[in-house]
């Protein structure tokens, strides 16, 4: 009994220490990568890419489901992207609202007979529309039966004719030079083929937008979006930057990422059977390249490129985190062959084990630990002074990591520079372990439970809409 108790006790300790060591290691790598990027970026004139006839051709894929309220402005924002060699494909994924009618009216769309090559299986495409107005010549709209985000993106890939795909959530707002920065790594490739690039997604709540453009950055006023702003800084500026340094990125945010079209098709496109389609595609593309022994790279841009609205209620946040957990489990389960498989290099030996132990298992271990703690406390087995010290240690380490992320933010892109914003961010970091983290763990556990019950819903994401500065009224 004592042996089992010790095994549990010290097993958790070893797990926690290894996890904290990983965080320190990743933090260090992130600094190196961020400094390298900033130094390169200062010397680069990205505008060169926008007008060059030799810039790579890009198809932007924007799936939309029941986005009628903002679809016109969102598409207008995407059409205003400064890039020559571009087509924009909006996929209406069987919306039940008036999205399609609004698009037809506002952009003068007419059905066209296009040679649609069904390279990836999708639900039935009802029609493809093109605008009769030459101003919108870059726009193509697919109207299809509802099949989910992965299905919508696959039908977009089937229609796309350009070299690179940029997949974007239709309600995201992009920075002016976002596309140029996202595509630059493809232009820099030499020996390693760049198969995908991702950019930083930032929280748009409380920011001000005008005509689809960000004009004023604010730290979210409400607690939940604010704590997610901090979480995103930590995840993107520390986590993904570090994995990018190791060429071990497993995830490119579904909100904004670019892919080599041919590799994406050859790898089989988005998988319909998972709710974590963005992560799954990246893992599959990497696996495809590694299996064929083709040197490759997945690049990451630390600049804030894309702004999205974060859930502002616990209900919506819970659905999102539930889905993220299910997506992670599904992806890791589909690609379990990678686990500690030296054939896949960093992917198999580092990225996969990290995700398995510290992303997937962490909430399970945390939740189990909490339940066991309650039982032991009830039975009077807790060494309270030791418990207090251990809890303090873990809390302080968490705060240290958040403070370090804030330092990285201030030293690099420094988006929140208004009076009081930094103070609020630090205070948010202090209360996060009590008001936010337990909820995220609980939502993840619910996600695992839902997966076991084979409940596969996406989870509706209701949005409040962006703050918009006084501007002209929508046209439709």
């Amino acid at each position: 009994m004592a042996f089992l108790y010790n095994l549990f006790h010290y097993g958790l300790l070893v797990y926690a220490v290894s996890m904290l060591s990983c965080y320190i290691f990743l933090g260090t790598l992130a600094i190196v990568e961020a400094v390298k990027y900033l130094r390169r970026s200062r010397l680069t004139n990205y505008n060169l890419l926008a007008s060059s006839p030799f810039a790579p051709s890009v198809s932007i894929l924007a799936p939309a489901y029941n986005e009628g309220a903002n679809i016109i402005e969102n598409v207008r924002s995407l059409l205003s992207i400064y890039y020559n060699n571009l087509e924009l494909i909006v996929i209406n994924d069987g919306s039940k609202d008036d999205s399609m009618a609004k698009l037809i009216h506002a952009y003068q769309l007419e059905p066209v007979q296009l040679n649609y090559h069904q390279q990836l299986a999708t639900k039935k495409v009802k029609s493809v529309y093109k605008s009769t107005n030459p101003v919108y010549s870059k726009l193509l709209v697919i109207d299809k039966e509802n099949g989910g985000k992965a299905d919508a993106l696959n039908s977009g890939i089937n229609l796309a004719s350009n070299q690179y795909l940029v997949c974007i959530d239709v309600d995201c707002i992009l920075e002016q030079d976002a596309l140029l920065k996202l595509l630059k790594p493809f232009m820099d490739q030499t020996d390693n083929k760049v198969i995908a690039t991702g950019g930083v997604v930032r929280i748009a709540n409380s920011c001000v937008f005008k005509n689809g453009k960000l004009i004023d950055v604010n730290l979210p006023k409400d607690f939940l979006p604010r704590v997610q702003a901090l979480e995103y800084i930590r995840a993107f500026l520390l986590g993904r930057m570090a994995w990018s340094n190791l060429n071990g990125l497993l995830l490119i945010s579904g909100a904004f990422g670019a892919f080599d079209r041919q590799v994406a098709i050859d790898a089989g496109g988005y998988d319909h059977n998972t709710v974590g389609e963005d992560m799954e595609l990246v893992v599959r593309m990497r696996r495809y390249m590694a299996d064929r022994k083709i040197p490759y790279k997945v690049a990451f841009i630390p600049d804030p490129l894309c702004w999205t609205e974060a859930p502002a209620s616990y209900k919506i946040l819970g659905r999102q985190r539930n889905r993220w957990m299910r997506g992670t489990i599904e992806t890791l389960s589909m690609h379990r062959k990678l686990f500690l498989n030296p054939k896949y290099g960093v992917l198999g030996m580092m990225s996969y084990p990290y995700w398995l132990f510290y992303e997937l298992l962490a909430p399970i271990i945390e939740f189990t630990g909490f339940v066991i703690f309650l039982i032991l406390a009830f039975m009077g087995y807790i060494n309270w002074p030791f418990f207090a010290v251990l809890t303090a240690f873990i809390l302080i380490f968490g705060w240290l990591f958040s403070t370090f992320a804030i330092l990285m933010e201030v030293a690099t892109f420094n988006q929140y520079k208004k009076r009081g914003e930094l103070r609020k961010l630090i205070l948010t970091a202090i209360v996060e372990p009590f008001l936010f983290h337990p909820f995220v763990v609980w939502s993840s556990i619910k996600g695992i439970w839902d997966l076991l019950r084979k409940k596969n819903s996406w989870g509706e994401m209701t949005r409040q809409g962006f703050n918009t500065a006084a501007t002209e009224a929508p046209k439709a």
Partner: protein, 342 residues
Amino acid sequence: MTSTLSTVLYQLARFTSIELFFIAIGTLTTIIIALIGAILYIMLAKRNIAKQQAQLQQQFKYWLVSIILQEPDQQLQRFEVPDDIKPLLYRRFARKALLAELIRLKNDLSGQSGNNLIKLYNELQLDRLSAYDMRNGRWYDKAKGIQELAVMEQKAYIDEIYPLANHRHPMVRMEAQIALVCLQQYEGLSFFENLKYPLTEWHHIKLLQLLANHPIPSETIVNSWLNSSNPSVVQFALKLIAEQHATQFQNEVIARLSHPSDAVRNQAIACLGEIPSAPAATALRTHYSSESSKVLQLTILSGLVKTGTAGELPFLQELQLAPDESVRLAALKTIQHLQQQA
């Protein structure tokens, strides 16, 4: 197994005394306080720098505007430095801010205004700052120094820049290559002869932009690039031919369809689309069956949209029977296009 684990656990127990955690908590708390201090310091420093820069920009603004607007007949004399700016030029920070401002303006201005900025740069001996950076061991200073010398058209530094075109750091060699072309146009591309590294697509775009208004000076030089052992140089030459629609290189481009590199063949196909002719279409059609890459076969079919004529229709119609759907589709698109043209 159990005894081993017990030993491990026993050893672990020795390292997990409560005192150890107190030390760890103390250390972490100290680090957090230090990090918060660093955050405040960086924030204040950034704010100060931004404020100083804005102040300096304001001070330089009217002076620089007057210099930009100076007429050519006033060129013989030196630009007068206003009394309030003279003391600033002894401060390194202010000199660097002025240099950054001049580079920014020069990037947007050409003609007489640009020349005035170069003259001021020379008069204030700001080239010394740029050259100092170029000679620095840190790659980012080196690259920045080279970039500034190129923007300010400092031909005196060409000999120093030339060896850097083969520097081990990609940013340094790219800036050096760009600088050489910026300063000498086609002559600057002589570094192709000794190029040890491949040029990236980004290099291509930048170099082509610099040469956009300069017609190809001699066929010999382009032919030597087309025969380079470095495939990225061959690709560059093909892009240059395409951009300048240099039809005189048609035969050489057609010959590149049998190049061993996929990237070169791809570029050759794209290039033939920019110098359309009957032999180009025939060459593409003939090459189609011998092309080993399916992707390039599809590129040929879409390339025929630009070079093809009604003469290609029987070949394309034959492809309508191909087992591969993507081939059939690509052929159909080209047929539709050629029929529309006809």
